[in-house]
Symmetry: C3
Subunit: 325 residues, 3 copies
């Protein structure tokens, strides 16, 4: 009589990473070896279900929490941080916590879910969009968006000839006398048909009482040639006077049970504080032991150069295992 599925993913790896700071008068280099969690995807567990209400209508829910496979700690380790007030509380379902209805009209969700911007951001990402291997790791500024702010209402359309769209509004719930509440708005438009997938996404984040807002825009695409899948993404972030332009190209190559993926990413931030040029390279391989389990390895290199003031270089290498249940 239970109507819920318990599911999850455990991803752990052994790795080593070096951070080398080359700043005149303050250079350093440190290599750390670790057993850590979420090399490819964040470790998680969840409860989900879908009830048929008749006439194509369904009631749906997802409750999903993240955790660190290496320590058992809640992920994010600090618990839930309210994106509007900064207040921290312990978090039961840090990733998803929503209930909603779906049908011919599309889908409505209430609660905490991924923003439409986040939903399509990885579509053109190389190295499996892996947390530690993706070319854009440590490179793109657009990684600093609110991926699931909560307090939100979400709507996605059905697919029309491969086209679909989604929108979300998150309430800051922090209005004060004379001061507007904060808010986050996010939307995407997608097209998927045969070998082609393209998605455009936009997200606006406005703090309580703020004059301006931070705006994220990204276009992701992929084209599947069969022997290889081409990946590309371009993005833009505007935060006050700071502007960042970003791109990434890559390729997935399936070789039987093994899939190899790699790419390069670049970003250029210009603003009153100067210019920041960033470059990243990521390469990773998966070896499928089954549909639910794979071994992986990969490396990622990044360089962040504050023009005229030195740079920071990182390298990461790891081998790991991921298991879904």
């Amino acid at each position: 009589q239970s109507s819920v599925t318990l599911y999850g993913l455990v991803d752990a790896y052994v790795g080593t990473s070096k951070v080398k700071v080359s700043v005149p008068g303050a250079s350093s280099s440190l290599r750390q070896s670790v057993v850590d969690s979420g090399g490819i995807n964040t470790s998680r567990f969840g409860f989900k279900g879908s009830e048929d209400l008749g006439g194509g209508l369904k009631a749906n829910f997802v409750l999903e929490g993240g955790f660190k496979a290496d320590t058992g700690a809640t992920d994010p380790t600090g618990g839930y941080t309210n994106p509007y007030t900064g207040v921290v509380s312990s978090s039961t379902f840090s990733r998803n916590s929503w209930v909603g209805l779906s049908g011919g009209f599309g889908e409505v969700k209430l609660g905490k879910m991924w923003t439409p911007y986040d939903e399509v951001k990885g579509l053109g990402a190389a190295a499996f969009d892996a947390n530690i291997f993706a070319p854009a790791t440590n490179v793109w500024l657009s990684n600093n968006y609110q991926a699931n702010p909560g307090n939100a209402i979400y709507y996605s359309t059905p697919s029309f000839s491969g086209f679909s769209a989604a929108g979300m509004y998150s309430f800051g719930e922090n209005k004060a006398p004379g001061v507007d509440a904060g808010k986050i708005m996010s939307a995407n438009v997608q097209y998927a048909n045969g070998p082609i997938a393209v998605a455009l996404a936009h997200q606006v984040e406005k703090a309580s009482g703020a004059v301006g807002s931070t705006k994220f825009t990204q276009l992701n695409g992929s084209y599947d040639l069969g022997a290889a899948k081409l990946l590309a993404a371009v993005g833009h972030v505007k935060d006050g006077s700071d502007k960042s332009k970003e791109f990434q190209v890559g390729v997935d190559v399936p070789l039987g049970a093994v899939t190899v993926s790699g790419g390069v990413a670049r970003a250029k931030l210009t603003g009153p504080g100067g210019e920041l040029k960033s470059t990243g390279f990521g390469l990773a391989a998966k070896y499928d032991l089954s549909k639910r389990t794979f071994l992986y390895t990969g490396l990622q290199l990044s360089k962040n150069e504050v023009v005229g003031a030195g740079d920071i270089k990182t390298d990461t290498f790891a081998v790991g295992v991921q298991h879904k249940f």
Copy 2:
């Protein structure tokens, strides 16, 4: 071979509420719009089971945690606060955490469970005893009791011709040299037969080393006429020199898939600090999409008047969805 049921409830709504303070020299008014959790019932998940030990004896357990459907945060968001020491810890099962035995003798539970006072408090409550719509919300002082203090042993009798009773004792576990430990005692007597349900409940809360205690008493009843169910409750709270008298009347009206419920609540607190008069009105409707899922809407108005010193008025309106799994 698993012998446990995973269950829960996700309740989320879009709502708006206004707090209007009319105090000479310090008046204000603020309306907040939100996506929030638990409009009708607190969102929760749990594990429970019952093992047949033969001869009518059963071993039972319930482990249940609350969460905020809008943010995924643990509910209560501050985690578990020890009711005797005030110490806060992160909480895995904030609502129920007990193991026990049941049989012809009744039921015994050890751990953290609802007090007998809490068990019957909502029996006569209108507007589905909803967190945000019940007439007594923001009105009754008797809402400030310890609903599940933990450190407890609980016993309930079997039903004898419709009569049953329950008692609970919670250990403060905070004895110090020369200072007694705190304690919470709670008991109820219930009668349910055909259209009639009546329950009397009493709870005493004593802090460590305190001279006096806080005493809660409540009588709840309902009478089902078929076309409508009449609801009534009267209560009393004594906390030192402060005394509060409370009542509430209401009615549930079933109309096919829709049920409408409404009522009014009043409270009068008298004490050395003056007199506080409170009134509340709540009205709500459920629309069943299935046995497990319903849409709801409702409103609640409250007024708290410190006699001779102004008042605070609130209004709340919301629409939401609840899904059980």
Copy 3:
């Protein structure tokens, strides 16, 4: 299609314990009555699974959190404390959180698991190695080891004619310029054949940048005579100039549905700060209501004497119930 088992254990008791301090000028005595969790074993819930990958290879995972059955709080109540940095975070799976592979080669785990030292420490323990009844409770210094430090890679051999072994390495991940990271290494060798079981275990804990380390060694054994099972353990702890020698003997006596177990433990710590002599006595009985549920009772007495400076005596008595699911 779900491939995960939800399991756990709820253990709660009513008990009373006294701490009597007999130190010249600072004597005291205090008895506390409680409803508490984990009299025999720590209350826990978990998700686990094993996937057959063919050729004898399996992918395995365990995610397991502890909780206090009396309050629903996370256990340990402070959440997860990083053993190297002392940083505390909220903990989803405080006991186990690992993924790995097993096969003819043995088993490899990545993440947070019990150390090989911990795995065999209870083999020779009397009074069911119960949290509150074991003779060594409040007696052995070797109870203060890191039982599951996380950040770890673990390997155990298959069994060869009853012999097996395991090793674990945990990364401190806290290297700083010029300062090595901390580390914990743990290993065991076991022999189990017919009535005989013997295990030798060793664990070394080294803090970041520390010159020395803390070393734990323990030999545990049991011999099953049928009518009774003999239990014995000897241990040694070296922490800088402090050395502790420990032993324990006991016996399990099965009497149908009832099992009685008892024993005595001693420890002697010598170091620059003087000499500490400790003695403990534990006796407990289980009454099986089923394979998954039992009632229990027991008592434990301990005495810790700082030679020439007084002593602390404790006594604990409790009755409880444990249910597995």
